[in-house]
């Protein structure tokens, strides 16, 4: 045997040896397939080859394939489609009849100015379905067809999969009523810093503040993406202010960043949680949105749908390029609700493209109730994602804050911290050059640099800052900090903007007379190589407060962490707080599945 191996290694590798190795690998593969019912490495080739042609539309990996599959099985060659992408129709549905948006035969369609003329144009050509791929081409959004598809009287969404959509065009305009809803009229909250592609997983958004809901306050919003400290933050932002009539007017502005998003979202609370106000699904079939837009930039409208038990999913229902030269553009969009939907949010975003500035006016949203039967949208392969029952607010640690001012004023900034050293740097960004595409002129004037000492107690620092009209004030922590509470004073009033707490396990101390040894355990899912930070805030009867810093621990994926510490004597309430700092990637967030505290008995 030894001799064999010696020769095997010493001699040249023969074709027979290679063949033997391949055969052995195949044998292992085959055995595994018999034993486990699945292969170890690849899908069995013959399966793939066999399903390629026949089962291709049933292949869930094929984007939008289920819309084509639906069309194949549920429409006839007598139906006529208007299609905004030809490839799949031409190849997989080649016995159907359609009108392609590129076809020069319908060039005159693009000259139409009225949506009812456009509707009639398509009816005259026997069109009864409209297929839109997972993006809206300029032939759609720059023609009256966008208004037709955005009007429930003319059309409604019928099949939806992977963002690909099939609309049905009604044979005659179908009367419908606009139902008002608390869900949509509670104002918009602004969100800044979501990253491209996160719409599908709303949990990755920064948690919006209640304070940034438009309504009583003129000022709102403002946050930058800072999941990645020091990773190239840029001033981006939006604001929502009431116009002269008191209607909300939304204003988005963002730098050339290509990635970060500015967004407005309806309803209070975190975007992945259902908003207030459910609607009657026996009556309501969908939602219709109308707003005006001007400026320059890319605009998207998304719909977030929630079931009664909190499951949700999201999809883009409109995207367009807004151009300065075209003046004010009116945007119409509609979405049909999925069968289990009971509440929804509308999300309007810059789409993360280029830089730009958009002014959105008179946003108006209706729940759609048809006067005749309610048509049901058929939704394929986009199931609702149910959040974990015990999922706590999925938060990012915010290191930066921005304010936008409208006139000369003095803003009092206050920063507070417990438990750790903190250094803050603020600067002003004057928005001086509005004409150029580059909207922001940055300067470093007005900086202030403060350092907090290490402390177990709460430290507060305040400073007045003079601002000019149209100034962005950006404050940023210059080093990693684990807990930052900010109290901006405005007009002498203390407003608590936010408090970042990832666990809210307020407990009472069973026996508070002595110092006790305590262990804090945490089961959580965290991104690769994260620092998980824990601290315990505590209160003493009669008002004393304090904090015990437990420090960071490196963790990855599904993890269980423990900290051991001395719980001070005479504490009656304490509150463990977790946070994390992700050094390597900016994806994901912490998901806490279980946290508990053990306190040793004195005996």
């Amino acid at each position: 045997m030894k001799q064999f191996w010696k020769e095997f290694v010493a001699n040249r590798v023969t074709v027979y040896q290679i063949v033997a190795i391949i055969l052995a690998a195949l044998a292992v593969q085959g055995t595994a397939r018999q034993a486990l019912g699945r292969t170890l490495l690849f899908t069995h080739f013959s399966e793939v080859w066999g399903q390629r042609e026949d089962g291709v539309l049933a292949n869930r990996g094929f984007p939008g394939s289920t819309v084509f599959e639906w069309a194949l099985n549920n429409t006839s060659p007598d139906d006529r489609f208007l299609i905004y992408r030809q490839a799949e129709f031409a190849y997989y549905l080649d016995d159907r009849r359609w009108i392609y948006d590129f076809d020069p035969k319908i060039l005159d369609f693009y000259d139409l100015d009225e949506s009812d003329a456009a509707y009639q144009y398509m009816l005259d050509r026997d069109v009864n379905y409209v297929f839109v791929p997972n993006y809206m081409p300029s032939t759609l959004y720059n023609s009256q067809m966008a208004s037709v598809l955005g009007d429930p009287a003319y059309a409604n969404e019928l099949v939806i999969a992977d963002g690909f959509r099939m609309f049905q065009l009604h044979e005659t305009p179908r009367p419908w009523n606009c139902v008002d809803s608390e869900m949509l009229n509670g104002g918009f909250q602004t969100m800044v810093g979501a990253r491209l592609g996160y719409e599908n997983r709303g949990g990755d958004f920064l948690v919006p503040d209640d304070a940034s809901i438009v309504g009583s306050s003129s000022y709102a919003l403002l946050r930058t993406a800072d999941a990645n400290p020091g990773g190239g933050m840029r001033p981006i932002g939006g604001r929502a202010v009431p116009d002269e009539n008191g209607d909300p007017e939304l204003y988005m502005i963002w730098d050339r960043n290509d990635r970060d998003r500015v967004a407005f979202v309806t309803g209070e609370g975190q975007i992945s949680q259902p908003p207030n106000g459910e609607f009657d699904r026996n009556e309501i079939s969908g939602v219709q949105i109308e707003l005006t837009a001007q400026g320059i930039g890319y605009l998207e409208i998304w719909i977030y749908e929630f079931t009664a038990d909190g499951a949700w999913n999201s999809r883009r229902i409109f995207d367009t390029v807004i151009q300065e030269e075209r003046g004010e553009t009116t945007v119409h969009a509609q979405a049909s609700f999925q069968p289990t939907t009971t509440s929804a949010r509308i999300y309007i975003s810059n789409g993360g493209f280029a830089s730009g500035e958009l002014r959105l006016g008179s946003p108006n949203a209706c729940l759609v109730a048809y006067e005749d039967d309610r048509p049901d949208a058929i939704v394929l392969n986009t199931g609702m994602e149910i959040p974990a029952d015990d999922r706590l607010p999925d938060d990012r640690f915010s290191l930066s804050q921005e304010w936008f001012t409208r006139e000369d004023e003095t803003v009092h900034l206050a920063f507070g911290t417990r438990c750790h050293r903190l250094s803050v740097f603020c600067r002003q960004i004057d928005e001086t050059d509005r004409g150029a595409l580059l909207l922001m002129h940055r300067s470093a004037q007005g900086g202030l640099d403060v350092t907090f000492p290490d402390s177990g107690g709460f430290q507060l620092f305040t400073a007045p800052v003079e601002t000019g009209p149209r100034t962005w004030l950006e404050c940023r922590a210059s080093q990693r900090i684990w807990l930052l509470e900010r109290f901006p004073f405005r007009d002498g009033t203390l407003v608590q903007l936010e408090r970042r707490i990832l666990g809210n396990m307020i407990s009472n101390n069973p026996d508070r007379h002595d110092t006790r040894r305590a262990r804090l355990h945490l089961d959580a899912t965290v991104p690769y190589n994260s620092n998980v930070i824990a601290m315990v805030h505590w209160d003493r009867p009669g008002g004393g407060r304090g904090c015990t810093w437990l420090g960071p621990q490196i963790a990855s994926d599904q993890t269980r962490l423990s900290w051991e510490f001395d719980l001070p004597a005479n504490v009656d309430r304490f509150e463990p707080i977790f946070s994390y700092d992700n050094q390597l990637s900016n994806s994901g967030g912490i998901r806490i599945s279980r946290a508990h505290l053990e306190i040793e008995n004195q005996d």
């Binding site: 040249r12 030809q86 490839a87 830089s355």
Partner: protein
């Protein structure tokens, strides 16, 4: 049934490739070795079939598929039979090379060249994964589906009346693409072998054939007869397969993995022309060597490269200027050689461009009436979606997209730039690099020129920016191998 079709299609490619190789070997250009001629002919086989099919469909439309099939395969077979001794030499030599390859894989060789072996192993793994994906993935991308659909129409008509397809058919199908229809012809040819069916099963063989050919060609040019180096070869193939976007295009059945290696082949053969007429030692002075046959063959290869796609039109000026500025001939002979080359290439590859000029007034036609419509404003839409709104974006995301989007282009352009700066002298002394540099410079000049006059034609499509990728891969591989040598020298000293 599918197995018979499959074997038939592969056999037809084999016949065509061998026929080309026989002609090359008979005329002793582009290479003197039979195996090298076979390798260089590999990419031309399906292309030659496509070209002849195109000519037949133009002048003799409407016949049954079997007529076209037997005509084309008959011509190829006849060529091989007439040149049967050459064919024996070529296939014998190729087989000797191939059968000797396993003998080279010894532990001793692996130990003595660990880096080279590792690179080749990596390339082999990537190749296998890509080949599996080619065969396993359905066609999902937009352009390939339209190519395959239009080819169905052409295969059913067996004529070019519907190419370009304008106005639309009764079904509504409309495809006004006016590229030279090489890819369509390849697909039609594959459909013919299915006997009435038009599935995508056989089409995958086209892509596999070109993947093998591209890797072999890259290995061949990187190996260099005068300075063989497994490390350079390994780097070359690995860089080629390590360009993510290229592999994505291969597996999604795009035309680019066919036109790009053909463009590269055109420049490779131009380099061989330079070697044969100007740089190789020989009995006669460069100015007295017979040039007609090498120039004709170079013209043929360049012409087939032009036939592959509209961008192939660039290959002619690339090849001509590379020859003109690098050769050692007298001015008159330079002009003569470039003229022979150019006329041959135009004869083979200019058909569609002439037709476009007649139909649309321009040789290259890459637009749609609806795009020109003012209200639709397609150009702005493209600029926004592709991040080309501002001038700086057109520079970083257009002109310099090779460097700014590593998820598409890998690191090979960075390697080429860095190694090019460090080893510029040895790269400049390498004739091949100079020839390819000419192609790169002209392509870049075109991109800059079109961009500066406000036309996004070249920069708007990330696929177009892949055009000169093999040249870059060659420079990067040469530089990386040179760096490896430099390190070895330092270590030995």
């Amino acid at each position: 049934m599918i197995a018979i079709s499959l074997i038939g299609l592969i056999f037809s490619y084999f016949l065509a490739t061998t026929a080309f190789a026989c002609v090359f070997h008979k005329l002793r250009f582009p290479a003197r070795s039979g195996a090298a001629n076979f390798l260089l002919a590999w990419l031309l086989g399906p292309m030659g079939v496509a070209w002849v099919l195109w000519v037949l469909l133009r002048f003799l439309p409407g016949l049954p598929p079997a007529v076209y099939m037997s005509a084309i395969m008959g011509v190829a077979a006849l060529t091989i039979i007439l040149l049967r001794e050459r064919a024996q030499e070529i296939l014998g030599e190729t087989w000797r090379y191939l059968s000797a390859l396993p003998d080279l894989v010894t532990w001793e060789n692996i130990r003595s060249n660990l880096l080279g072996s590792g690179l080749l192993l990596g390339a082999a793994i990537l190749f296998l994964v890509t080949a599996f994906n080619i065969l396993a993935m359905p066609i999902m991308a937009s352009d390939p589906l339209e190519y395959a659909s239009l080819s169905r129409v052409l295969a059913a008509d067996r004529s070019l009346d519907n190419y370009p397809l304008d106005p639309s058919l009764d079904t509504g199908f409309y495809a006004r693409s006016a590229h030279p229809p090489a890819f369509h012809m390849m697909i039609v040819w594959a459909y013919f072998f299915e006997g009435g069916e038009t599935s995508s099963r056989l089409l995958r063989i086209i892509q596999l054939h070109y993947l093998i050919g591209s890797c072999a060609l890259m290995a061949f040019v990187c190996h260099r007869e005068n300075a063989p180096s497994v490390v350079r070869m390994g780097f070359g193939v690995l860089f080629l397969l390590g360009t993510p976007f290229y592999i994505a295009l291969v597996t999604s059945f795009h035309i680019d993995p066919i036109r790009i290696p053909l463009m590269f082949l055109g420049m490779v053969v131009t380099h061989r022309l330079l070697m044969r007429l100007d740089y190789e030692g020989g009995d006669t002075e460069p100015n007295k060597r017979p040039f007609i046959i090498p120039a004709l063959i170079t013209g043929l290869v360049v012409g087939l490269g032009m036939f592959a796609h509209s961008i192939g039109l660039l290959l002619l000026p690339f090849a001509q200027s590379a020859y003109f500025f690098v050769c050692k001939q007298s001015f008159i002979r330079r002009c003569l050689i470039c003229t022979v080359l150019g006329l041959t290439a135009l004869f083979i590859g200019a058909g569609q461009f002439v037709q476009n000029t007649v139909d649309y007034g321009v040789p290259l036609h890459d637009s749609e009436p609806v795009w020109e419509h003012e209200e639709v404003d397609h150009k702005t839409d493209v600029r926004f979606r592709r991040d080309l709104v501002h001038f700086e974006q057109r520079v970083t995301n257009g002109l310099l997209v090779w460097f700014s989007r590593a998820e598409l282009y890998g690191q090979v352009h960075w390697f080429a730039l860095i190694f090019g700066l460090i080893f510029w002298r040895s790269i400049w002394n390498d004739l091949q690099s100079r020839v390819y540099a000419m192609g790169m410079l002209l392509f870049y000049a075109l991109a800059v020129l079109t961009m500066s006059i406000g036309v996004d034609m070249v920069i708007k499509n990330i696929r177009y920016m892949l055009t000169v990728m093999p040249f870059v891969v060659y420079v990067a591989a040469t530089g990386a191998a040179r760096a490896h040598e430099a390190v070895l020298e330092r270590v030995r000293r």
